[in-house]
């Protein structure tokens, strides 16, 4: 069992959270098809620290941004996911 330290709710069981996806800048609506395709489908998928979005759906219902190690599962940072940068 693992605890995630939600910035709004405090330490909560990981099963309250749902993994959303790898954190990445959201393309602009008029970005090229190749940019959108890469955003929707392609992943860095590293073995090690991974920047990712989780939904605290059984808590504050906020989208959070974590840096979590995919090998050890250790969370090195957790914060509200805000202001995703838009790219063309």
């Amino acid at each position: 069992m693992q605890l995630f330290n939600c910035p709004f709710c405090g330490p909560r069981d990981q099963s309250e959270f749902t993994y959303v996806r790898e954190a990445a800048p959201v393309p602009a609506l008029d970005a090229s098809q190749a940019t959108w395709q890469a955003y929707v489908y392609d992943r860095d998928n590293p073995r090690g620290p991974h920047r990712e979005w989780w939904h605290h759906n059984h808590g504050c219902r906020q989208i959070l941004e974590l840096v979590r190690d995919t090998l050890t599962h250790e969370v090195s940072s957790i914060d509200a996911a805000r202001g995703s940068q838009v790219t063309k």
Partner: protein, 418 residues
């Protein structure tokens, strides 16, 4: 190589079993190979075997960072089936199933394939309709399946709770009788032995750490024990595909997730088929040693740790007990996790890549084991001819860009939900 037969068994028995040779050679790597396969799992070994057997390409090396049978090939729930809907997957997996039925003879190695049937249960009318649709599409593709009523299921699987008592009562199920299980280690060992016998070099404890490029062409691999030059290179490292392809500069539509499996203490024979739960995600069969082999969902977050978390154990076992209340006092023997290549449409990628002479076999999600012989067959064809086989024409890397995804479940680009 010694041919395994009843005569060799008798002869060795009379010698006190002291004369059995090594099943495969352990050669020093050559400087150059026509084809190098990265990854000595079932798929890589099967690819090397069919390269030698079907295409006459025998100067082949399989390079494995660990040992044969130590990866996902030996870490799965051994289920073999071909109950797929999209035509691309249906034809591919059906060909693989046909290969399973004669694999022991082909390899001269008993892979203990047991066509004991795979039964998918339905618990709601919606699920029943979905299984009818799946069954109809399978039959249109010439694949066997049969609808069983609740009464027929109660007779076929006596310990299954077919009453109205469970929260989600069973109303029927779709069975594919030609599906079943096989001995997973034997599949790795059998392909390794048969490939080695045809001249393939199996190089263990040798990790690929990079690719050697000339322009847009791969000409070799850098390994932990030195550089090997190669005419063509195939990647078959499911679980680590993103990392290995990343060394060649490719970014894949794949996320690596952990999937757990469980084995109970050995019991007398009580389940003689494969049963999957429809109201949750749980599948069970009984091994020849009597252990119940069980699996459930992914842990639902990216992980390379070959270990899982407890909530999924509880969820899977809850579903199992709903099906088989008789198991409530059975003890677990062991539990483990394997790393899955979860692709963005739930279907595999068996494809050329944007880099010349580099080929990719990846994205097997929950179901790589059943595909082992078929995957080797079409990947060998793809490498030998620099063009896909009819059965993997649709399984390209480009399908995500041109909208031709093969999404059996309809879950979209959320790899954990496939």
């Amino acid at each position: 190589m010694m041919k395994y037969s009843v005569f060799s068994l008798i002869k060795q028995a009379l010698n006190g079993h002291q004369g059995w040779p090594m099943a495969w050679r352990n050669p020093e790597p050559k400087k150059h190979y026509d084809v190098i396969i990265v990854g000595g799992g079932g798929h890589g070994l099967a690819t090397a075997f069919y390269l030698a057997k079907n295409h006459g390409i025998k100067n082949v090396a399989v390079v494995e960072k660990g040992w044969i049978g130590g990866g996902n090939t030996g870490r799965n729930t051994t289920i073999v089936r071909s109950n797929y809907m999209p035509d691309e997957n249906a034809h591919f997996y059906e060909w693989s199933l046909k290969l399973w039925h004669q694999l022991s003879e082909e390899l001269n190695y008993n892979v203990m394939f047991s066509p004991r049937g795979v039964l998918n249960l339905a618990h709601t009318e919606g699920q029943r309709d979905a299984l009818f649709r799946r069954g109809n599409r399978m039959r249109l593709n010439g694949i066997d399946c049969e609808w069983l009523t609740r009464e027929e299921i109660a007779r076929a699987v006596p310990h299954l709770d077919c009453s109205d008592t469970p929260r989600f009562p069973i109303i029927g199920g779709l069975i594919q009788r030609r599906g079943g299980t096989a001995r997973h280690d034997a599949v790795a060992w059998g392909f390794a032995r048969a490939a080695s016998n045809l001249g393939v070099d199996i190089i263990q404890n040798c990790e690929v750490q990079g690719f050697v490029r000339e322009g847009n062409r791969i000409v070799g691999v850098e390994t932990s024990t030195g550089r090997l030059s190669a005419g063509r290179v195939g990647i078959a490292v499911a679980g680590n595909s993103g990392r290995v392809a990343g060394m060649a500069g490719l970014k894949l539509p794949i996320e690596t997730h952990v999937l757990q499996a469980f084995v109970s203490e050995p019991l007398k024979p009580i389940i003689d088929t494969v049963v999957t739960y429809g109201a949750g995600h749980f599948y069970v069969s009984q091994s020849d040693k009597g252990e119940l082999v069980m699996g459930g969902d992914l842990d639902f977050y990216p992980s390379y740790g070959q270990k899982g978390n407890l909530p999924i154990v509880e969820e899977a076992i809850t579903a199992g007990l709903q099906m088989f209340p008789i198991l409530s006092r059975v003890r677990m023997l062991r539990q483990w996790g394997g790393v899955m290549d979860m692709s963005m449409d739930g279907s595999p990628i068996i494809s050329k890549t944007p880099i010349d002479n580099l080929y990719l076999n990846a994205g097997w999600c929950y179901g790589g084991f059943k595909a082992t012989p078929g995957s080797g067959w079409v990947f060998a064809h793809t490498i030998a001819n620099d063009a896909p086989h009819a059965f993997n024409q649709g399984h390209t890397l480009e399908r995500f860009a041109n909208g031709k995804v093969i999404d059996d479940k309809g879950a979209g680009p959320t790899p954990q939900w496939h």
